[in-house]
């Protein structure tokens, strides 16, 4: 565990040291930021100036360019959190705790934005903001799980001791989310009036696919940047908490 006993630091051990992790990944930040910015500019240009309207949904198809990336991120972030939870439980990797904590609010926001854009898309296409459709509903449940996790982190007095417990819950959630998805589909096909129109998007034209992919990568990189930055902040916050307690504890004796 202690770096002193290990003569050579491999990358894994280097990552396991929070300070080293920050030092090692800080140079990555700026290139990532620039890449993200470029992707966004390109994406917006495509979205508003260089893509056609859909023959069925008209211009509302442009909502897709923000809806789908957010919807994808809502699931991707949970996957990241689950992997981090495994890292915490199995390998006791200190950065895994940090990654897990930093990801939860990001995931909550992306999920909320997926719901928001979906709702705004639903109004012109189906005439209502909300429909208890399977995919929308399971996204809502996912949001509730994210918010529960955020509340859980906040409820612990001692963040350092919270990680392993929260990791257990995250993994239980990861096992359960497919079940939720399945049950919700089952439930809403059961009752759902057939009127709901779902554009399951087979064979989208290239002119739509290209902006979609650009935005998709833009959002994914945005998440990566923010996640990295939040992890750095979290590492610092832990040092702050430790220092605060140490200073409070009488400081110099």
């Amino acid at each position: 565990m202690t770096p002193d006993t290990e003569p050579r630091l491999n990358w894994w051990n280097r990552m396991a040291n929070p300070g080293q992790f920050v030092a090692w990944t800080t140079p990555l930040l700026w290139p990532l930021v620039i890449l993200t910015a470029v992707l966004f500019v390109l994406g917006f240009w495509f979205a508003f100036f260089n893509s056609p309207e859909d023959y069925q949904m008209g211009d509302t198809v442009r909502i897709m360019y923000v809806h789908v990336p957010n919807a994808w991120l809502s699931q991707f972030v949970y996957a990241i959190m689950s992997v981090s939870a495994l890292g915490t439980l199995v390998w006791r990797h200190p950065m895994a705790d940090v990654s897990m904590k930093a990801a939860a609010p990001l995931g909550a926001l992306f999920t909320a934005l997926a719901l928001f854009t979906g709702a705004l898309w639903g109004r012109p296409t189906w005439g209502t903001f909300w429909e208890w459709d399977g995919r929308m509903t399971s996204t809502l449940v996912l949001l509730l799980i994210y918010l529960g996790l955020v509340a859980l982190w906040r409820a612990f007095d001692d963040q350092l001791r919270a990680a392993r417990v929260i990791a257990v819950f995250t993994l239980v959630g990861a096992i359960n989310i497919p079940i939720i998805k399945f049950s919700v589909d089952w439930w809403s096909t059961l009752h759902q009036p057939a009127s709901v129109f779902r554009p399951d998007g087979p064979r989208m034209p290239m002119s739509i696919l290209v902006p979609l992919f650009v935005m998709f990568f833009a959002f994914t990189f945005l998440f990566l940047v923010l996640h990295l930055k939040a992890m750095h902040t979290e590492v610092k916050r832990r040092r702050v908490m430790t220092l605060k307690r140490r200073l409070a504890q009488g400081g110099p004796a």
Binding site: G19, I63, L113, L120, K236, R239, V240, L243, K244, R246
Partner: protein, 58 residues
């Protein structure tokens, strides 16, 4: 900008909402980073036992 058709309101609001959300998130992340960093340097200045190089854990 091209014409957004009859549902322009929804499209524009969707983009505005997403941008506000993202902007808020970025602002918060930066604010949090600054706040924590400055707090850390303030505390480290006060910490009498600090002779270690930055980033090593005890």
């Amino acid at each position: 900008m091209i014409d957004l058709g009859p549902h322009a309101v929804f499209i524009i609001w969707a983009y505005i909402g997403v941008m506000l959300g993202i902007a808020g998130l970025i602002a918060w992340t930066l604010f949090d980073a600054r706040r924590t960093a400055s707090e850390l340097s303030r505390l480290e200045a006060r910490d009498p036992r600090r002779q270690r190089p930055a980033g090593t854990t005890p």
